[in-house]
Each structure stands twice: as structure tokens, then as C-alpha cells.
């Protein structure tokens, strides 16, 4: 018996919708299930499961089950393309659905990986995804070979048709037989020179759903009997709830209950609940209004003393002390620099940033006697599932996570990596009815898992030809309680592993402590440090009398991939340093997620200091690109992401809490600030597979800051740029 994620009703609904002129059939089981009710997903009767990844129906339509989440980065399309490539089916015969996380967990992690992060989907998961398609193709061939009494190698599988000599049949005809076949050995996946589909631009399958309001996000979940909760946790994270007065608001219309949410002592990890209180009502606005009016007393605790200023003071103190050495190459760089000569020194820092997904953090959970259903905007459905199981004390086999579209991901995982899934599970467990928890934007920004602030001190000694002979860096990277989980690797990224061939290097890091929960954000580490390292590189190059682009080409000699990207950037951007005052070009190049990305920014700065970023030229080496259009979209988006933080972003900490928690004060890039972006690939091919969801971002802030330097003569060593006086005369 087959099992898939599609409810019968969802299947019928979308079959009807597909007749409405959509080029590609596409349906989203979690989303459709959300509009009916929480019951087990049914098995479609007319598709045969060849393996966990795909079914083939009697019309030859292949339904690909995608275990990853779709946040606009193209997971549904990429996975479907990889399967279609190996299966040899026409792209118009492919549709994509989300795979079932419960099945994944209860059948030995059948999809291998269900999380979606680190720009990993294509670069790391393509072998097993393509394997699933290749295996299905060979089993179809084997089924035909058996029926026709020929050798499997004599059967050709092309565009949904099996052929041997004069005999032919469709995949659909042999699907049932293929499902029962065991191959003696699994086939190898195709090499890039054999691709017929991968490498072509395909528009993403999710787009038509996202222009008419029909794409369902977790926040759109509606269940029979569902109630709504607004929550408030201590404004100073991990502070305690002293009291609240439900009596003051319980007579308000629609209000059902006030429920205290309790942190478990000692449990301060990623997704654990903080102390707070929820108001439950028949609509969210009624719940939110009552919560805002309800008197609440908090015990903020000692963290209420901390501020942006105290944090930077702490960082500067740490920078005076030796840290953990994570890179020491050649002679002792610290001693060389200490001995004197021409030394360039600078301190850089970057503030807190928040994900600010446009879909506020939310989750809906339905707890009944027999099962638990979860709708959560998570990048990790298996985590959401285990969180809900843990909070409700249920076995994971009875917990069902419905994958829906994510209203932005950016590395934070939405509901999965925050306490909201636990909150909804707890409230539903107590109330015995479905509960949708939505965080206000203020709650979302104050209690998201934030991008850590950091500070780095750089020192370089100039040697022969004006090039650096020694390079010493010491960084402070703040994480919750100094937990090294996020700190260790990311605190070195793009600093400790800087590519340039400086003979004597030394890097140390400190894990600074904060009470603020921290987590990964799009391009963690590289996002913060790319700006610092690549701006300081310009300082060193210019001090040594070098053109910054020539300096980078010189310092990566013999490193083919870096040379290719830099030379392509030179050709495509026309980088120059002799523009008139008020105009400037700047460059940056950063490796992250297996890809090398370079940017060239062209800016103008008015005499009064108004910055305009005109253009970004981006060059990326991701080894291979399976869908160039999707890759370009991700580069455009990554560039906007980093430009937003670097130009207008930054959270301010005061009395232990963030003071700018909505979009009137926490600024995001707006359309009138968006530069033209030209993306070029400079692919190295071979065994290199790099990601594309993040790498184009990190080189953008230094490219812009370096361009500002050429336009104004002002060196920017912290972000956001808007907090600097850029005027010139």
C-alpha cells in the first residue's frame, strides 16, 4: 500500500485548479489540509509509489515528494528538477508536493535530511535525491525488461516512455511492476555532461500560487473550533513573570483564558519557552487587545543592566586579552607586528540584527486524545515535530507536522527554532482545542533568535612591495551565555579562514556572553565578517599603494577559483578608482557555503552625505548551477538582505531589551533603495558544489563601504552606514 502526503480532497481540489490554465500542476497538501481539518493524510488511489520520493499516476504524471521547506528559495523546483533529470520525464509531467515528516521520522529517516538550511539542498543533498530518481528509472527499465524478456541494458527510458527494439510502453504501465523490483546494485547518478534538464532556467513551481492569495502559510491555518492566542514574554529575555491580572480584562469580548507559560529551569536552548503569559480569545485581535490592556509585572533580573554600550565595553576589554587561537600560520605574527614597521590597525564592529521574516512568528497546534497536528513556519519539520511531542508528552509517531509555505526563512527557522511551537502545543494541550499563536511584530523582534553582534581588531604589517607580511586578528562574537554552538565556527568565518596568502597569520576569538538568544541568520559569520575583512583589506591595499582589485588578484595567485571570480568581476564591472568626488566603486569577495562570491558596488554620495547605491555586479562560483534563474533570484535576494543590514539595519539594546521592535524603528531596505543587480556565474565545475541561497550577500556591504571611501574619503568601520556622517566637501 502506498502512502503519500496528499489528502484525497486536496488532490481533487488541485486537479480542478490545474484545469484553470496553470502550466504545471502543483499542490500543497499541508496548506490544503489546513483549510479542512486535522486528520491523517490519505493515500491517493491513482498514483503508484516507486519509492518514497515519487509516485507515477496512470496519466504518467510524476508527483515528487519534497522533504525540504519552500521559502522562495526554490526547494520544490530544485528537487523536482533533479528527480526529473534522472527519471527522464518531461518537465510538464512533474508536480511537487511536500513529503510527510511523520513518515520520515517513523520510517528510519527515509528522506535522509528534512531540514533546510546552510544553502545545502542542492550542493549537499543532490547525490541522494538524484539517486532516488535514477533508481526509479532503472526499476522501470527492469520491469519492462522482465515483461519483454530482454536485458535491462537493452531498454531505453526517455520522456516517460520505455523502449526496446519495436516494443514500447509508458512509465505508467510499468509503475506497479517497477515498485516491486529490487535492483542488484543501485545506479550511479548522472555526471553534469549527461544532463539534459539541469542547468536550464526553469521558473519556480510555487510562483503561480503566490500571486492570488492562495498560497497558504502557517499563519493562515484555520481549523474547526480553533482559538487564537497572543503572547507576551518578559521584555528582558529570560526574566521572570511576577504577576498578571486577568480580572482586568476577562470580561472583554471574545476573551477565553489567560495562561501562564513557564520556562523549564536550566532549559535555555534554541527552542525552549521563556516565562510569559498568553491570552486566548475567539479572534487574534481580541486576544492581542486584551493582552495589551492586562496589567503584568515582571522581574527583569540582572540582564536589565545590559545595553549596546555595555556590550561594546565588554568586547573591548576582551580584545585586550588573548583569546582562543584558531589559526596560526608561519612565524609569530603578533611579535612581528609588535616589533614595529608600517602597521595598519583598525577596529570593526557590527550590531544585533533580527530575521524580521515578513510572516511573524506563529504556530498552530491541535492536540487531541489520539494525535497532535502542527502547522509551523519551520525550516526543520522534524524539529517542530519533536518539540511538539516533547511539550505534549506524546510519542513522535502520533505527531503530524504539516509543511506549509514559509513567509521567509533566512536561517532562523521561524516556528521551529523558536518557542512558539511549544507555546501553541502547551496551550492546545491545556485547552483541548486547536490554538493558533501569533506573535505581534514587537514580540517577534524582541524574542526572535538574533544575529550575534561582533567586534574585531585587525592589525597588518606591510612588507615587500607594500604587501602584508603579517596579519593579526582578534574577534569577539556574542552568543547566549557564550554557548559555543553557534559561536565556534561562525566566529572564525571569513576572518580566520581568509584566503589571502599572507605568510604569517594569527587569529584568536572570544565567545562573548549575552542573555539574548542567538541563532543562525542567512550567511552566518560571513555576513558579519565579510564586511570587516574585506573593508580592512582595502585599507591595507591602499596603504601599500595598491589598487584593491589588483591586490586581491595578487594575493590569490595560484588559486584558480578565486582568480576566475576576480578576473570575471574585473571584466564585468569595469572597476576603477578614479571617479570624480562623490562617486565611487568598491569591491569585496567572500567565500561561504562552498561558493566564492564577489561584488562590485557603484555609489554616489551627495555633498550632504546622502548615499545612493546605483548598481551591484555580482560574480559567483558555485561549481555548478542546476537552475540559473533560481540562482540569480537568490543572489539578488542575498544582496538585498546584507545591504539592508549594512545600510539601514541594527537593533539597539537598552536596559536588557531591544528598543526598536517594529518597522518604524527597525529599518529594512525599501524599493527606492534597491540598486540594479547584475549576476554573473564564473563556474569552476568539477567536484565543486557550492550553495547559492546565501553567498552573494556577504561581499556586498564591504563593496559598498569601499565605494563610499572612494566617493568621500571616509572609511566606514561599523554598520549601519546610515549612522555615519557621509558628507564631504
Amino acid at each position: 500500500m502506498t502512502q503519500t502526503t496528499i489528502s484525497r480532497r486536496a488532490f481533487i481540489q488541485t486537479s480542478v485548479a490545474a484545469g484553470g490554465g496553470l502550466l504545471l500542476g502543483f499542490h500543497v497538501p499541508g496548506a490544503d489540509a489546513a483549510s479542512v481539518e486535522a486528520h491523517p493524510w490519505k493515500t491517493p488511489t491513482d498514483g503508484v509509489e516507486i519509492n518514497a520520493w515519487l509516485t507515477i499516476d496512470r496519466n504518467g504524471v510524476v508527483t515528487v515528494r519534497v522533504p525540504h521547506t519552500e521559502m522562495g528559495q526554490g526547494a520544490l523546483t530544485s528537487v523536482a528538477m533533479m528527480i526529473a533529470e534522472e527519471l527522464n520525464v518531461d518537465w510538464s509531467k512533474i508536480q511537487a508536493v511536500f513529503a510527510d515528516p511523520n513518515r520520515h521520522l517513523t520510517r528510519g529517516r527515509e528522506y535522509k535530511v528534512m531540514t533546510t538550511h546552510g544553502s545545502q539542498l542542492v550542493r549537499l543533498q543532490h547525490p541522494h535525491i538524484m539517486q532516488a530518481g535514477a533508481s526509479a528509472r532503472e526499476r522501470l527499465k527492469a520491469a519492462a525488461a522482465q515483461a519483454w524478456r530482454v536485458d535491462r541494458s537493452a531498454v531505453e527510458a526517455k520522456l516517460g516512455v520505455l523502449k526496446s527494439g519495436k516494443r514500447s510502453g509508458t512509465y505508467a504501465e510499468f509503475a506497479t511492476a517497477a515498485a516491486a523490483i529490487q535492483l542488484p546494485t543501485e545506479p550511479a547518478i548522472k555526471t553534469p555532461d549527461q544532463w539534459w534538464l539541469l542547468g536550464q532556467s526553469k521558473q519556480r513551481l510555487d510562483i503561480p500560487r503566490k500571486v492570488d492569495g492562495s498560497a497558504a502559510f502557517a499563519i493562515d491555518t484555520r481549523l474547526p473550533g480553533m482559538v487564537y492566542a497572543a503572547v507576551k514574554c518578559c521584555p528582558v529575555p529570560w526574566g521572570k513573570l511576577k504577576s498578571f491580572s486577568f480580572d482586568a480584562v476577562k470580561q472583554r469580548p471574545g476573551v477565553i483564558a489567560a495562561i501562564e507559560l513557564k520556562a523549564v529551569p536550566g532549559k535555555t536552548a534554541f527552542s525552549d519557552m521563556q516565562n510569559g503569559v498568553a491570552i486566548v480569545a475567539d479572534t487574534w485581535y481580541r486576544a492581542k487587545t486584551a493582552l495589551d490592556l492586562m496589567p503584568i509585572e515582571w522581574d527583569f533580573g540582572p540582564a536589565a543592566q545590559s545595553s549596546t554600550e555595555s556590550q561594546w565595553a565588554e568586547a573591548r576589554k576582551l580584545l585586550e586579552q588573548p583569546g582562543e587561537v584558531s589559526n596560526a600560520t608561519g612565524a609569530n605574527a603578533i611579535e612581528m607586528i609588535g616589533a614595529g614597521g608600517k602597521v595598519i590597525a583598525a577596529e570593526y564592529h557590527r550590531p544585533w540584527e533580527t530575521h524580521a521574516r515578513m510572516e511573524p512568528i506563529n504556530a498552530t497546534v491541535s492536540v487531541t486524545d489520539s494525535r497532535v497536528d502542527v502547522w509551523s513556519p519551520t525550516q526543520d519539520q522534524s524539529l517542530a515535530l519533536t518539540l511538539a511531542a516533547d511539550q505534549t508528552g506524546r510519542d513522535v509517531k502520533d505527531v503530524f507536522v504539516h509543511t506549509v509555505f514559509l513567509g521567509g526563512g533566512f536561517g532562523g527557522g521561524g516556528g521551529g527554532n523558536t518557542a512558539v511551537t511549544r507555546q501553541a502545543a502547551e496551550l492546545s494541550r491545556q485547552l483541548k482545542r486547536p490554538v493558533k499563536v501569533v506573535w505581534s511584530r514587537e514580540e517577534d523582534i524582541n524574542h526572535d533568535k538574533q544575529r550575534p553582534p561582533n567586534m574585531t581588531a585587525f592589525k597588518a604589517l606591510l612588507g615587500d612591495k607594500g604587501l602584508p607580511s603579517a596579519w593579526f586578528t582578534r574577534s569577539v562574537w556574542f552568543t547566549q551565555d557564550g554557548m559555543p554552538r553557534i559561536g565556534a565556527a561562525h566566529a572564525d568565518y571569513s576572518i580566520g579562514n581568509m584566503p589571502y596568502k599572507v605568510p604569517n597569520r594569527h587569529h584568536e576569538r572570544h565567545n562573548g556572553k549575552t542573555h539574548i538568544p542567538t541563532a543562525t541568520h542567512r550567511a552566518p559569520g560571513a555576513g558579519q565578517h565579510g564586511f570587516m575583512t574585506e573593508s580592512f583589506v582595502d585599507e591595507v591595499a591602499i596603504a601599500g599603494g595598491w589598487n584593491p582589485l589588483d591586490w586581491r588578484i595578487e594575493m590569490t595567485k595560484g588559486m584558480d577559483d578565486w582568480q576566475r571570480v576576480l578576473l570575471t568581476l574585473k571584466e564585468k564591472s569595469g572597476f576603477r578608482t578614479d571617479l570624480p568626488r562623490g562617486e565611487g566603486m568598491g569591491i569585496g569577495i567572500v567565500e561561504s557555503h562552498g561558493s566564492i562570491a564577489a561584488a562590485c558596488a557603484t555609489v554616489t554620495v551627495s555633498r550632504r552625505g546622502a548615499l545612493h547605491v546605483e548598481k551591484l555586479v555580482i560574480v559567483v562560483d558555485s561549481g555548478h548551477v542546476i537552475n540559473p534563474l533560481g540562482g540569480i533570484e537568490q543572489c539578488e535576494g542575498s544582496a538585498a538582505w546584507e545591504l539592508s543590514h549594512a545600510w539601514v539595519g541594527g537593533l539597539d539594546l537598552k536596559e536588557g531589551r531591544f528598543t526598536n521592535t517594529n518597522f518604524d524603528t527597525y529599518n529594512l531596505l525599501r524599493i527606492d533603495q534597491m540598486p540594479q543587480v547584475d549576476v554573473h556565474f564564473a563556474l569552476s565545475g568539477g567536484s565543486k558544489w557550492g550553495g547559492l541561497g546565501e553567498p552573494a550577500g556577504p561581499p556586498v556591504p564591504p563593496a559598498v563601504a569601499n565605494a563610499i571611501f572612494y566617493a568621500t574619503g571616509k572609511r566606514i568601520r561599523s554598520t549601519p552606514f546610515r549612522s555615519h556622517d557621509l558628507s564631504w566637501s
Binding site: 521558473q203 510555487d206 492570488d212 492562495s214 497558504a216 521574516r357 514559509l406 533566512f410 538585498a640 524599493i671
Partner: protein
Amino acid sequence: MAIALQINGETHTVDTEPETPLLWVLRDNIGLTGTKFGCGIAQCGVCTVHLDGQAVKSCAIPVSAAVGRRITTIEGLTAKGQLHPVQAAWIEAGVPQCGYCQSGQIMAAAALLARRRNPSDQEIDAAMSGNLCRCGTYLRIRQGIRRAAALMQTE
């Protein structure tokens, strides 16, 4: 209290406080979830709908102010199964990424094109600067609006 609203050509009666923002009536009372919640203070534009053809931020409009006016949401932009030119252009230009802000972007763009058949780049930026997109699809939003303008010329 009972409040009657004209939404997408149909009359809906809801029982709610008159100061409830239109956004929450659309989403929670009526179930039109294509209009999104983003900030609650008219700063992000994901809740944009049309009131008598004008783009407004529904999180900042009390439902009482929408009585007697034509309310159009993203679900009502598609007339008789036919995509609005902005929606068709959005597919052609491949605008949406995560898609969460796009209902608001499309409603803002449709209202712009209703009053300016062929807006300049500056007019596009000015009209769309109240709509945030965290995925950074702004380039394709501009392309989509230019394409929709072209589609509307040939209609």
C-alpha cells in the same frame, strides 16, 4: 455589533467591535487569509487592500471606516478566473520568492496602474516604498509593474 461590508462584490456581515482593524475582520472573521499581517502599524504593507479602488493598509483602518465602501482583496483581484494583468506580469517576471508580502505588493501595484497607466521608475519607487519585501524582490517588482503596464496598454 453587526457590521455589513462589501468585499469582492459580496456582502458579508460580521459581529465585531467597530474599532477592529479591517485586516483582522478579513482574516479571522471572514477567512480571507490572502491579506497578510506584518506589523500592525501601517509600516510594511503586507496587509494592503483596495478601498474604493485606493490602496490602503488594512491593519490601520478600523472596520467601521470601511462600511459602505468597496473593499477588494487579493482574492477579488482575479475576476471570473481571469488573472489581473499585474498578477499575470508577476508570474512572467517571476516576482515572488517567499510570497508573503506579494498580495500587498500586487494590490499596491494594481492601484498605482489604475491611476497611472505608464508610471516612471521614480513613480514606481514612490508608490511602492510603503511595501517591504524581506526577500529583496524589488528588482522584479519594478519589472513586473513595467510588464503589467505594457499588458494593460494592449488590452
